[in-house]
Amino acid sequence: MQTDWGNWGYVALFLLIATGFAFIPLVLSPLIRPRNPNPVKQATYECGIETVGTSWIRYYAGFYVYALVFVVFDVETIFLYPWAVAFGLLNWFALIEMAIFIGILLVGLVYAWKKQALRWW
């Protein structure tokens, strides 16, 4: 079986069927389940204590630093894939170039490490 662009048709079909599949329980379940909501039941769960205010408030920005380092590394990994696949056809020069690329990436990792950006709290 050759890899063929036409295979994406199956992926599209798979997406459609998977969507249907994900919705079947949501459609079937209301037929058999009870439905009698009351304010206590619908209250936000907080171990028995009443919630104070909404939870849509500002959180610790450390989460953002992780996301940021992640985005940069994610983009760099993307550039590695074509290189990896084409590796058999490339010469030693490409190896050096990729070493430089990964070196630059490493500098970033070391920087984030030294700046404690990768430390929790």
Partner: protein, 108 residues
């Protein structure tokens, strides 16, 4: 039959929607999202050119040049989003606001 033109028109429509949002939104995060819309509209044209333009003498690297460019644009857009959102968070820390009008620190 879908031709290059279809993709270009689609891209133009999305670019205009993005431009409108970037100009008319008050929330800085929303402005950034609209800029991402514009980036993606441009990427559509590049990839569409890569698909439909035949390889010519003026384009020695073959039809894939557009795809390479799209890759670089994606990288640049990701870097831009990361830095811009970091700036927004920093501004929010001092100003308690994410509105464009309130972020006129550089205005005398």
């Amino acid at each position: 039959m879908i031709t290059l033109q279809h993709f270009l028109v689609l891209s133009a429509v999305i670019f205009s929607i993005g431009l409108y949002g970037a100009l008319a939104k008050r929330n800085v995060v929303a402005v950034l999202m609209c800029i991402e819309l514009m980036f993606n509209a441009v990427n559509i044209t590049l990839v569409a050119f890569a698909r439909y333009l035949p390889a010519t003498a003026g384009n020695p690297y073959g039809p894939l040049t557009g795809q390479v460019f799209a890759l670089f644009i994606i990288a640049v857009a990701a870097a831009e989003a990361a830095v811009a959102l970091a700036i927004i968070l920093a501004v929010y820390r001092t100003r308690r606001s994410v509105n464009v009008e309130d972020v006129n620190l550089l205005q005398s």
